[in-house]
Symmetry: C2
Subunit: 361 residues, 2 copies
């Protein structure tokens, strides 16, 4: 089944959140070209390009917004030339997802008044597009009928400590959308195991759907400081927008939508997604997406040769030839002028490497 633009209400908008700085995949991504603009999986397209192409099958370009750091305006234009330039929302500094969603919601309200808002991450890996489109349409239909804040959950396929979890209020087998009981960020292994076994917990996919008026009401209620900075503004969608945003952004709270709103609201629902999903948030998540050899080695190229090596992950530029001999548990990544070799157990440290180099200069 193919879904066309016409099947979505004309007042539905999609916001692609692209605020990441890509330090966990250094040097394959870096502050110049964060993960969402990178092609870590070597598919031929960056994550944000893939996201845009998937979304643009059901939303027309004028109703797609990208919100990203001001310094990434140009790379966004380059990678999504189809997007009207006014549809790139530029953040002067990073203020986490609650502020980013407040900005986008307020902007859409000023364009459309009442509207449905779909929020998607720019840097996740999705398979089964038909299921994805169907889920989005079902979600849009749900919030337009019932109101509330709808999150997307993914049925866990393993014990995973690096994701956020959503607990459904009452497990109702076969029901696609249910009320949410709790949110839990990155549980320890024991807890993650209980979550996995209980069946009541879903991975938080970071995809949200709501009516603009509903999310604004909830932000007003739970993050009034943030709400008030935008209240009564006359600048959005005018030439004064950039200056207005630059003036207030520093005062906006640095809090996630999950922590700031979803965990506090009592009108939160979760849709059990039926598409394939990975946040590709770590090299381990990347590894889980890739084919492994008989010794659990992964690489992005057939020109990487493993001998007597185990549990290694190699990500090198197209055409690079590598021989890995007699080593175990390494993450090896190269790009441009950079080479990174790290023990798997130290993966958490990678996010600091680019900064360390800057300090060294």
């Amino acid at each position: 089944m193919t879904i066309s633009h016409s099947s979505l209400p004309a007042d539905s908008y999609c916001v692609i959140m692209a605020g990441g700085i890509g330090n966990r995949f250094w040097p394959v991504s870096n502050t110049q070209c964060p993960k969402q603009f990178s092609d870590i999986l070597h598919t031929g397209k960056s994550f944000i390009r893939q996201t845009y192409e998937r979304i643009s099958r059901i939303f027309p370009d004028e109703r797609i917004f990208v919100i990203t750091g001001a310094e990434y305006e140009e790379i966004t234009h380059q990678q999504i030339p189809e997007l009207p330039s006014g549809n790139i929302l530029k953040e002067p500094l990073r203020r986490n997802t609650a502020t980013c969603i407040m900005y986008a919601a307020e902007k859409i309200k000023k364009i459309a008044g009442t509207a449905t808002m779909v929020v998607v991450p720019s840097d996740h890996f999705i398979t089964n597009d038909n299921a994805y489109w169907k889920d989005l349409r079902d979600g849009i239909e749900f919030v337009r009928k019932n109101g509330g804040l709808l999150t997307f959950g993914i049925t866990p396929s393993r014990i995973e400590t690096q994701y956020g979890y959503i607990q459904v209020r009452t497990a109702e087998p076969g029901k696609k959308i249910t009320a949410v009981k709790t949110f839990t960020e990155k549980p320890d292994y024991e807890l993650a195991q209980k979550f996995y076994e209980s069946g009541d917990f879903l991975w938080n996919a970071g995809i949200f759907i709501w009516q603009v008026e509903d999310i604004l009401r909830e932000i007003r209620k739970h993050l009034y400081d943030l709400y008030s900075l935008f209240e009564n503004n006359t600048s959005l969608n005018t030439p004064a927008e950039e200056e207005f945003i630059n003036t207030i952004y520093g005062q906006c709270p640095n809090v996630s939508i999950d922590f700031g709103i979803l965990e506090k609201s009592n009108q939160v629902y979760v849709l059990r997604g039926s598409f394939g999903w990975s946040d590709v948030g770590t090299w381990h998540a990347f590894q889980a997406l890739c084919k492994q050899d008989e010794n659990n080695n992964t690489s992005n190229s057939s020109q990487v040769i493993f001998h007597n090596s185990h549990n290694c992950l190699v990500n090198v530029p197209e055409g690079k030839i590598a021989i890995i001999y007699g080593v175990d548990d390494l993450i090896i990544a190269a790009k441009d002028n950079y080479l990174m070799i790290c023990h798997s157990k130290d993966e958490e440290k990678i996010r600091n490497f680019e900064k360390q180099l800057k300090f060294k200069k």
Copy 2:
């Protein structure tokens, strides 16, 4: 003290042996550019260029020969443009050092009749040039006065299993040149320890000095098959040389001068070298030449950063930035489009890597 050309006899010649194929340092050296033509130590000059510059301080260009694989004629020209093109002896295939020395000795004999011949490797690392020049001059003087085959030995500074050893016949303290009792190739650790402790054993530096007539007589005696292939030829130093060499080379024995002649002759002497020396034959030998950090890590660049890592050796192109985190005992080398990561214990395998890639193609 500076030694000039005039201090050496006019019938003394130097042969630089450059037949290596450089597979032990892959990918920093490779069959296109073997070790002798590479600048593994990042000094700004290749090994053969350094060797030439050292030798050319005491030999005029017309009395310096390089013997190398025919495929390396061009790179030799490029790196030593000063050398007359007739002074590059081209081997159509690899036939080890006895054949290579036979070819060079016969060629020099045809030029000069009686002559002194100094043979030096092209890919060793030498420090203290003044001591080196003095030792060569003493060696030349010795063989011109006494005859015989003179080798150069280096006083061992550690227990080393990867070198050849020369045992002096009678240890005569303070005497620079003594008769040789035995040769031993790559002893096991226990034996190397005995050698080190005894004081009677020197490392074989692969440097030889003899009168051309003496080495030819010994080859005639111990490797008559080789000698006879060159006997009575009228081709060397004529336009027919290349064809002659191409015709006979395949029939020449594949044997080293040490095994084929020096171990069998009873006229072998050793000069105790007073210069600094390393054959830089392995990454471990390379490591011994370099400054190590407090965790025994070595790299050729200040832009290689080690964290929580031990006993690692990194050799990357100039300007490459690398972060090595939480790993031990790795050899990491990169050049052009190649990356090699190998556990230290598997260093012996590196020599096969380039060949393996060829078979894979």
